[in-house]
């Protein structure tokens, strides 16, 4: 392969996400609210897939989803008993907010939400101490008092931030989301350091049941660009999970378009979450990807 020359455009693009940039925001390097790996430790990300994850009507099968998420939790925690694994994330005295995503074309889905709620209840949390919300989190009493958050949203391309990421899913925790859209959402990770969420996220679940790899039109949606991947990406580290999701979307774009077609705009907020804000791990040599289940057309 011919050696590629680094142009000034490449340099200017790379400079915006380089580790050097992190040195300008030292205050944000502490706290690590996404529980990223530290030092030489790798961030573990579980990709679990099951060909039976979706029912004939395209909705998630709750029984299969529960089994998949249990397997992911076991793989993350090392607990062979899934419930014991869930209990490492959630304590009975917790007040738990399940941060969902209601985007009407590809939502988190009620089925996935209810499986998560059920598993939280299984750990001993009373039902009235569990909330599920997206755009109403700032007004939701459960989220206002939450001691623990579970972050669950679908993976998709986004025509302002590049991808709709786990990182971006917390944008509804700020009263004026538009104020965070600068430089195509470059600094979304700072939201994770606000008091409403800092240090509360126990688990991140990027749904790749039916991800979207390309968008068109005002809603940035077309069924043509959605496929049944039937999986979940699960991690303590939202950045590492988003990187894996991003790589799958990129691979699907290559497969579909027959060429390397970079996301527009660039999803640099995912990498800046690491290099500028210290939220998690974006370097793939520091991510341990654990694959579970169905491997056909896995793309990664």
């Amino acid at each position: 392969m011919a050696k590629r020359t680094i142009t000034r455009r490449d340099f200017l693009k790379a400079a915006s996400v380089a580790p050097l940039a992190a040195s300008f925001v030292p205050a944000l390097k502490s706290g690590t609210p996404g529980h990223p790996a530290s030092g030489a430790e790798k961030a573990r990300v579980v990709l679990v897939r099951d060909p039976g994850a979706l029912r004939a009507d395209g909705t998630p099968d709750p029984d299969v989803v529960r089994r998949m998420l249990d397997e992911a939790v076991s793989a993350i925690t090392g607990e062979t008993d899934a419930l014991a694994g869930w209990k490492t994330f959630i304590r009975p005295e917790d007040i738990v907010g399940i941060k969902s995503n209601v985007w009407r074309f590809i939502p988190t889905t009620p089925e996935v939400e209810q499986v998560l709620k059920g598993r939280v209840m299984d750990t001993g949390v009373a039902e009235d101490r569990i909330g599920i919300d997206d755009r109403g989190v700032l007004r939701n009493p459960v989220f206002q008092q939450a001691t623990a958050l579970i972050n669950a949203r679908p993976a998709r391309t986004h025509n302002w931030s590049g991808v709709g990421s786990l990182i971006k899913n917390y944008i509804t925790f700020v009263p004026r989301p538009a104020e965070w859209h600068g430089d195509t959402c470059a600094d979304l990770a700072k939201i994770w350091y606000l008091p409403e969420v800092k240090g509360k996220t126990r688990l991140n679940i990027l749904s790749v049941l039916t991800p979207q790899f390309h968008g068109v039109g005002p809603h940035s949606f077309s069924k043509e660009y959605v496929w049944e991947y039937k999986g979940f990406i699960v991690s303590r580290d939202p950045v590492a999970a988003d990187v894996i999701g991003l790589r799958i979307l990129e691979a699907k774009r290559r497969e579909f378009f027959g060429e390397d077609r970079p996301l527009q705009p660039t999803p640099h907020h995912v990498f800046l979450a690491d290099t500028r804000h210290g939220l998690g791990v974006s370097s793939e040599d520091r991510i341990e990807l654990v694959r579970i289940g169905w491997s056909e057309n896995i793309l990664i």
Binding site: I6, R8, R9, H158, N159, W160, P177, A178, V216
Partner: protein
């Protein structure tokens, strides 16, 4: 910024029929630049980048058929209507309005100061026909056609891939189509209009019209100092990949030629662009 003539514009609802081919319209919703995010999330920034004023959203339902969704944007000016249309040019020409594309159940077109998107939640022969019929009826209801914005005539014609021409105002949209730099090195913004076009062998030309000659000169100096400090007196620099970048400005116009094969090619294309600026009245 383009003059706000929203008060003089027709009511958007008047432009959208209440039924088409057995589909009946449901409720009307109208969003402005502050409320757009309630409707299309962060993607609303694209429309805000083009100074949009209002969008009317209306869903059409028919038993046993996929819903149709109309989004009719009052962009405030033909430049912004055409601009936002050029943001996404996937699809085939559908001969609706002053420019249109159709692909996979999605029709987009612009006419005068309006941009419309009509989407079938599932595409079949019937929904495709209804989408196109709805588009034609909305286009017909818009009384006037706008003259083609003069900035569209600035790019040199020879070799231009017309399907790649983008019209925009902000550096975010520039970077969306062709990354230049994270910072706004060219002082793009609501008062500027810019076009970007692709030519064979990876060459691109960016032409920007500023509100004043002083603004153009200031942007010229800033871009030259930061992006191409190694440029010759003629505003030409050889980049790391062996290609040539040329920067020129005159009056209210500024041109950047990226990725030319030679200095003479870059200089000629820049000169022709500036000549086109003058001929187009900038």
């Amino acid at each position: 910024m383009a003059q706000d003539t929203t008060a003089d514009a027709p009511d958007l609802a008047v432009l959208v029929p209440s039924d088409v081919s057995g589909w009946n319209a449901t409720e009307v919703e109208v969003f402005d630049p502050e409320t757009i995010f309630d409707y299309i999330n962060g993607a609303g920034e694209v429309y805000r980048s083009y100074n949009f004023r209002r969008v009317l959203a209306r869903r059409f339902e028919k038993p046993g058929a996929p819903d149709l969704v109309v989004d009719l944007f009052d962009m405030g000016s033909p430049v912004d209507a055409l601009g936002v249309f050029t943001h996404d040019l996937e699809g085939e020409d559908a001969s609706v309005g002053q420019g249109s594309t159709y692909k996979g159940g999605l029709l987009s077109f612009w006419k005068d100061r309006y941009f419309a998107s009509i989407y079938a939640e599932a595409e079949n022969e019937e929904s495709r026909a209804a989408v196109l019929d709805l588009g034609r009826r909305i286009a017909s209801a818009i009384p006037d056609e706008a003259p083609r914005p003069a900035i569209m005539d600035v790019l040199p014609e020879k070799g231009l891939d017309t399907a790649t021409v983008r019209l925009f105002r902000t550096h975010h949209v520039l970077n969306y189509h062709f990354f230049v730099a994270d910072g706004n090195l060219l002082d793009l913004g609501p008062d500027t209009s810019a076009v970007l076009g692709s030519y064979p062998d990876g060459l691109r030309i960016l032409a920007i019209a500023y509100p004043s000659a002083d603004a153009a000169l200031e942007a010229f100096q800033k871009f030259r100092e930061i992006y191409m400090p190694d440029a010759s007196d003629a505003g030409i620099a050889r980049t790391e990949d062996g290609r040539t970048t040329a920067l020129r400005s005159s009056g209210r116009g500024l041109v950047v030629v990226f990725g030319a094969a030679s200095e003479s090619d870059a200089a000629e294309r820049a000169a022709e662009s500036l000549s086109n600026f003058e001929r187009s009245g900038f």
